[in-house]
């Protein structure tokens, strides 16, 4: 397994640490995987980086992905005011005002008085009037775009709402708009998407990706992107510099290649229009989950590929459900184990056990922790023996709040982890997730048991008896429940139109969108 650490690493003075009190998970997993970022938000953030690199002509370029890498992100504040700031207004005016000129006048007066995040000079929307034949047309299309809000059901502030990424004109970053000045915020865009970008740019398939990705996702020449573009003023925004503090600690990693392979595969599917995007979204965050899990396993020691026992939801609880809960909990704990190991490594540092007075020793240890993890006790600890304890306490508390949640939160986001029918989390994939797996890993067709073997081999996902036997080889398992689990998977895939049974002994999983060539 090729884990190549990156050579260009941030130095403490350069790193914009964003008020972080230590550089621990950041150093070994990256800055950063953000648990509160949903798969869609991760993808949209990724697109900000990707679109910028594409504009500059270095999409997925390895060298440009090295620390510190920068990109330019847009706010598109006019567009967002039209779409999201007081949504009902346009519709109301369109319905209540018969006369076109009056409707425009009414709405323009309103928006120019109420638009936010724009200074007085920018607050002009009159350009719209020349671009539509009537206010009614304008209102209809705005309504259509609003029906394409990404994660429309969550109740977010209007400056954190996003439309479907039809093309470059629809890609913009998360903002917080206070006092008329938009500012970058790290709550919704927490850099997971930036990391995803760098992973792909450092993958073995980066060249293939840079050839196909723009044709399927960043293509501006479709009518929806043109529409979104026409809602914005003619003068281009200059954009803001972002991404300097982003850090990915590996130049090569097996999961980077895995994500890239899945994406290349997905991008080649014969799906119409934008249909591939939801699968890229799921597959990307699933990749991040695997990255977190596999890296944790490796740091914790020896576990190169953790397995995930998946329950294909059964009507009542049984062995597979129990084992899937157990497997989920074990995996969730891997990052804690890894953390513990990293913290303890301080004790093996040559300066840790330096001789001298207690104060000397304390200072020497302080400098070890400062050096390794950029952590300082702020002179709160007096006894050198308590220093590591204090660090461990703070590190674990911080871990528990965010990084330790990544596994669960990404898992739920992609539809792999669920609590359906129980009060504990487990691996119980949704239809969308299953479909994504088939689309990403079945070239044309594959025999059902081969698919099970492949999902285990590639992702560590366990559905059937053979895989369960291998994953649980040390304790042995009861085969029957896993046979039934596989049978339920078969039925699910068949109801999704993805499985063709030839006879009672033979079934093939088919990818209906596979590239025929």
């Amino acid at each position: 397994m090729n884990y190549t650490p990156t050579t260009k690493t941030p130095t403490p003075t350069v790193a914009d640490r964003e008020r972080e009190s230590m550089w621990l998970e950041e150093k070994f997993w990256g800055h950063r995987l953000w648990d509160q970022q949903s798969p869609w938000l991760t993808f949209l953030e990724f697109l900000c980086v990707g679109a910028s690199a594409y504009r500059a002509g270095h999409l997925f370029d390895f060298d440009k992905s090295q620390y510190p890498s920068e990109y330019t992100a847009f706010g598109r504040v006019h567009l967002r005011n039209i779409l999201f700031n007081n949504e009902q207004h346009i519709g109301r005016i369109a319905e209540s005002t018969g006369d076109n000129a009056t409707a425009w006048a009414k709405w323009l007066a309103w928006i120019e008085g109420n638009a936010r995040g724009l200074d007085a000079g920018q607050r002009a929307f009159g350009y719209l009037r020349e671009r539509f034949e009537s206010f009614h047309d304008f209102a209809t299309l705005v309504k259509a775009l609003r029906s394409c809000i990404v994660e429309g059901d969550t109740n977010k502030r209007w400056s954190s709402r996003f439309i479907f990424p039809f093309g470059p004109a629809a890609i913009f970053e998360d903002l917080s708009i206070k006092d008329e000045v938009p500012a970058r915020d790290y709550v919704n865009f927490g850099r997971s998407g930036e990391l995803l970008y760098h992973m792909l740019a450092r993958s073995a398939l980066r060249e293939q990706l840079s050839a196909i990705f723009p044709t399927r996702v960043l293509n501006g020449n479709n009518k929806w992107n043109l529409l979104v573009e026409r809602l914005q003023p003619a003068t281009a925004e200059s954009g803001a510099r972002r991404g300097v503090a982003t850090f990915l600690p590996y130049d090569a990693h097996p999961i980077f290649d895995l994500i890239a392979e899945d994406w290349v595969h997905l991008l080649h599917l014969r799906l119409p229009g934008f249909d591939v995007i939801p699968y890229l979204v799921t597959s990307g965050t699933f990749g991040l989950l695997l990255y977190q899990l596999h890296t944790s396993g490796r740091i914790a020691g020896g576990i190169s590929k953790p397995s995930m026992i998946c329950e294909v939801v059964a009507p009542k609880k049984g062995l597979v459900r129990e084992l899937s809960i157990e497997s989920f909990e074990e995996n969730s704990f891997l990052s804690v184990d890894a953390l513990e190991k990293l913290i303890s490594s301080a004790e093996t540092h040559p300066a840790w056990n330096a001789q001298g007075s207690p104060t000397d020793r304390l200072n020497s240890r302080r400098s070890v922790l400062e050096d390794l993890f950029r952590w300082s006790d702020e002179k709160q600890v007096n006894d050198p023996e308590d220093l590591l304890k204090q660090f461990r306490l703070e590190a674990k508390e911080r871990h528990r709040r965010h990084f330790g949640q990544v596994h669960r939160s990404f898992g739920r986001g992609v539809g792999l982890v669920s609590r359906r029918g129980t009060n504990r989390f487990r691996y119980a994939p949704t239809d969308h997730f299953l479909r994504c797996l088939v689309f990403a890993s079945v070239r044309k067709r594959v025999e059902f048991s081969e698919l099970l073997a492949h999902l285990y081999e590639r992702y560590g996902l366990v559905f059937g008896e053979r895989e369960a036997e291998d994953a649980k080889s040390e304790q042995g398992i009861d085969k029957k429940p896993f046979q039934q689990n596989a049978l339920r998977l078969e039925h699910r895939l068949s109801s999704l139109g993805l499985l063709k049974r030839l006879s009672d002994a033979c079934a093939y999983v088919e990818n209906p969108y596979a590239d025929q060539s």
Binding site: E133, C148, L226, P272, E447, S495
Partner: protein, 623 residues
């Protein structure tokens, strides 16, 4: 052979527990021992397989695949005999036999001597799962794989295996490019339903791809004309004995010979074929045997009557429990055995007996004293002294109608009898009354009869399907494509939401495609691929997309068109239609390039008015 012996012999064909892989051998042995001939008929594939070993044939190996009971081993035996193999050797049960065959020369080929390896049951021959391949078996497998790609191979093969074992065996071999190629070849043949590929010296016959309806004809003829029945007739000497006038077995055999019963049964099997449910020979024989011998009382061993059961059943007034009409659905069998027997599980899906209409239930419940329904009641139920309105039925019905029963036992009893009567009606209602009574409403596939008579039948005889039916299919598809109750059937509406093609409600029109042929090449039509109807959408410039029909898809689309949105009826159908939409959109996008005119982009929104007529609105954005 006496009639009694024949019935005992016949019971072996019924739904009794047997060891699958010994089935054919057991029957042969029994037949030899008792001197009673098996129920035999020419296997539909026999001539084709034989011809593979004739002088004119393309060289190569032969694989016979199919489900348990398709007659793979049986066919191997026939070929062995045909090539003058030693019958004694065949009887020894070896799983691997060899035979030297001389291939006479032809104009392009010199005469050759070949070694034919016969693996009559691959699963019995391969090493157990988890154990190693013995060297000699491995070598033989390599030879098999090589023979696919070598026109001059001196060792050729005849292998019988079900498709699962075949794939599994090839996957278990150590990987090499030749084995990989062999594996892909077999897979391609299996999935694409072909028998040969260019440049490959292998013929693969998937016996499960044959028509169940055709097999049924063969099996039924062989069954009915078996000399055993003649012995029964000759031996009948008393009313209440085997084949006496009161004997239910005799009645069931007679019923099975009636053209109407045969026709309806055949229709069900034809519809199984149309739903990709293949019924192998063994299952057909189970069906026929159970239909004739079945009885639902515990007193009858294995629920299959013997000659000795006949007088007792008659005396106990339990003749109604031997009704062919219920036996056909395995109604005589305990739930577990019924659902474990493929044929009954397949027929169960029609839900015959549980589906009904007011009209039919009125005939059954009130028909006797009803002015208009009486005639039908008399003809369909009263006239049937065996399985019609016997005294049990009359009493239960009275209790049910009068409702003076405190606990519900009596009405439950009657409802059970009602199920049996509905099942019987499915086989009794004459053709001339089918439309009036809505016979197919007795099944879950209300459009099943129409599908057979007005879709399959014309397509088979190279005629066109009625426009109205095609229109209804188009209307059903339109409703699923748009998620709106659109009523258009002259054009196919391909719509999407702004972002995704797969949204439930799609308000943006991508394209309308005319059903009637246009000069641009656009048209929508129902074609036939030799087995199934195919809905073909032509978009002009040579672009087409096909949607393969099954009975379920036809039923689903028809129901959607008639106003129901049965999203629960079949999620699978919904997904299939959506996948078809994706294909169409892909093709359309390939055809159009970008939908921009100079200086503007246009959007077409779709709305429907109260009558279901689609209204389009074009909106332009100026560039």
């Amino acid at each position: 052979m006496t009639g009694e012996q024949w019935i005992n012999f016949l019971r072996q064909y019924g739904p009794i527990p047997t060891k699958d892989n010994l089935y054919d051998e057991n029957l042969r042995r029994r037949s030899r021992k008792t001197g009673i001939p098996q129920i035999l008929f020419a296997h539909p594939y026999e001539e084709r397989v034989k011809s593979c070993f004739s002088a004119e044939a393309l060289p190569g190996s032969v694989i016979l695949t199919g489900t348990a009971g398709d007659g793979k081993t049986f066919l191997c035996g026939r070929i062995w005999e045909h090539l003058n193999g030693d019958p004694a050797q065949w009887a020894r049960q070896d799983t691997h036999l060899t035979l030297s065959i001389a291939m006479p020369g032809t104009a392009n080929r010199p005469a050759r001597a070949l070694t034919l390896h016969v693996l009559r049951d691959l699963s019995a021959w391969v090493p157990l799962q988890g154990s190693e391949w013995p060297a000699e078996k491995l070598t033989l497998m390599m030879q098999l794989c090589q023979s696919f790609f070598d026109a001059q191979a001196n060792d050729i093969f005849l292998v019988a295996a079900n498709d699962g074992q075949l794939g599994e065996t090839l996957r278990r071999l150590p990987s090499s490019s030749e084995i990989q190629k062999a594996k892909e070849t077999v897979e391609e043949l299996l999935v694409s339903n072909r028998e040969r590929l260019d440049g490959v010296f292998l013929s693969l016959f998937n016996l499960s791809r044959g028509s169940s309806a055709q097999l049924f004809d063969l099996a039924l003829d062989a069954f009915i004309s078996h000399e055993g029945w003649q012995r029964c007739r000759e031996g009948a000497n008393a009313q209440n004995q085997l084949f006496g006038s009161e004997c239910p077995i005799r009645r069931n055999v007679e019923l099975l010979s009636e053209p109407l019963v045969r026709k309806r049964l055949r229709a069900l099997l034809e519809l199984c074929d149309q739903n990709d449910l293949h019924v192998p020979i063994r299952q057909l024989l189970i069906l026929l045997t159970n239909a004739v011998l079945g009885h639902s009382s515990d007193q009858v061993k294995d629920r299959l009557m013997t000659a000795a059961d006949v007088p007792r059943v008659i005396a106990a007034g339990e003749r109604g429990l031997a009704s062919l009409y219920s036996n056909v659905f395995g109604g005589n069998l305990p739930e577990g055995r019924r659902s474990n027997t493929a044929i009954f599980e397949y027929l169960e899906r029609f839900q015959i007996g549980r589906e009904t209409t007011n009209r039919i239930d009125n005939i059954l419940i009130f028909g006797e004293s009803h002015e208009r329904l009486q005639e039908q009641f008399d003809a369909l139920i009263k006239a049937d002294s065996f399985y019609g309105a016997d005294s049990t039925y009359v009493a239960a019905r009275r209790a049910y109608i009068e409702g003076n029963d405190e606990n519900n036992d009596a009405s439950e009893e009657f409802l059970k009898l009602l199920v049996a009567q509905r099942q019987a009606l499915f086989f009794k209602i004459p053709d001339r009354e089918v439309e009036e009574v809505k016979l197919w409403n007795l099944t879950v596939f209300r459009f099943g009869g129409e599908y057979l008579d007005y879709v399959l039948e014309p397509l088979r005889s190279q005629k066109t399907v009625r426009r109205g039916l095609l229109g209804r299919i188009v209307k059903g598809i339109n409703r699923i494509f748009t998620g709106m109750l659109i009523s258009s059937e002259n054009e196919l509406y391909v719509a999407s939401s702004a972002s995704l093609s797969q949204s439930r409600v799609s308000r943006f029109l991508e394209e309308r495609i005319s059903v009637a042929a246009k000069h641009t090449g656009e048209r929508v039509e129902l074609l036939f691929n030799g087995r199934r109807p195919v809905l073909r959408v032509s978009m002009g410039s040579g672009r087409t997309a096909d949607f393969l029909m099954t009975l379920t898809r036809y039923e689903y689309l028809s129901r959607v068109a008639e106003g129901a949105m049965p999203s629960s009826f079949s999620k699978e159908c919904f997904e299939d239609v959506m996948t078809f939409k994706s294909q169409l959109m892909r093709e359309l996008q390939g055809r159009d390039g970008q939908a921009t005119r100079d200086g503007e982009v246009t959007f077409t929104t779709l709305e429907i008015d109260t009558t279901g007529v689609a209204r389009e609105r074009h909106i332009a954005v100026l560039l």
